[in-house]
Subunit: 138 residues, 2 copies
DNA sequence: TTGCAAATGCAACAGTATTGCAAATAATTC
DNA sequence: GAATTATTTGCAATACTGTTGCATTTGCAA
């Protein structure tokens, strides 16, 4: 079970809570909100613990935050190994307006843009809304 | 006072509440959250009324929603006349990580991107985080 | 196996947002 | 201009999301 290793590598203790959460995220293959996580693991673990687990994973660089157009916060597994100093989630996110799923499009970089005023750019965030392949068929 | 006309044109009644809210948004020149609006006009108008006013303006196409990286919902005046069926806010938003201001960069379109899977694209949303000119000086 | 730091569960609380309903206000018709 | 109708507003209640403090438990290392 390499999830245990992943957690340890980021200087966190591999508790049963964290292992289950991470297992769920890996299985999900899409961004998952605290609410969705709680619906799945709420019987087993405390609501607040799940909040703290998500925060710990984000700080450690195991999960990264994703926002959809409605401002809903979700988390998704980092594909590259991020750390506590910097996330490398410089890819586009896709949000399906039909099933509300949000997932990362790992191999597409967010394009550079030319900004008129001389503002200092630190990071870029981009979401594409549309219909995913599942919902397209239906 | 052409704000009255603007409201009427979108089939809403130009009440004092709505006129004040719109006046505030025009003056602000940046995206404003409900909380910020309430801090300014909360003495005069009810908190819930302000929520409903924002919603009404959004539905009517007078304001459009803006999200920053923390998932905070703000509203900004639509430069082009939108309507209740579609918003045309296809421009980039800039968020200053120092003063937390968010504003529209009207004249820069969100770039097209090539998406690998055959997903159906409906709209694109982009936020650039950085430092605004005000905070740069400081 | 003992001692310490990290992690968890529970309770309380804070902030944001929505809904129902009655009262007030604006627009419409006569 | 008065009466009628529909919209808008304020208040109360409620729901959802997220955070903090503290006592207890758990994991890890000496």
């Amino acid at each position: 079970m390499e999830l245990k290793e992943l957690i340890k590598r980021h200087n966190l203790r591999p508790t049963s809570n964290r292992l289950e959460v991470l297992k769920f995220y890996r299985k999900a293959g899409k961004a998952v909100s605290h609410g969705e996580l709680d619906a799945e693991l709420g019987e087993q673990f405390d609501r607040i613990t799940l909040y703290r687990t998500l925060k710990a994973f984000e700080d450690a660089g195991i999960l990264h935050k994703v926002y959809d157009e409605k401002g809903i916060v979700r988390y998704s597994m980092c594909s590259h190994d991020c750390d506590n100093t910097q996330h490398q989630d410089n890819h586009i996110h896709f949000h399906c307006t039909s099933c509300e799923a949000t997932f990362c499009i790992e191999n597409v970089e967010i394009p550079q843009v030319q900004i008129p005023q001389n503002l200092i750019v630190e990071s870029r965030y981009m979401v594409i809304n549309g219909t995913c392949n599942n919902c397209k068929r239906a």
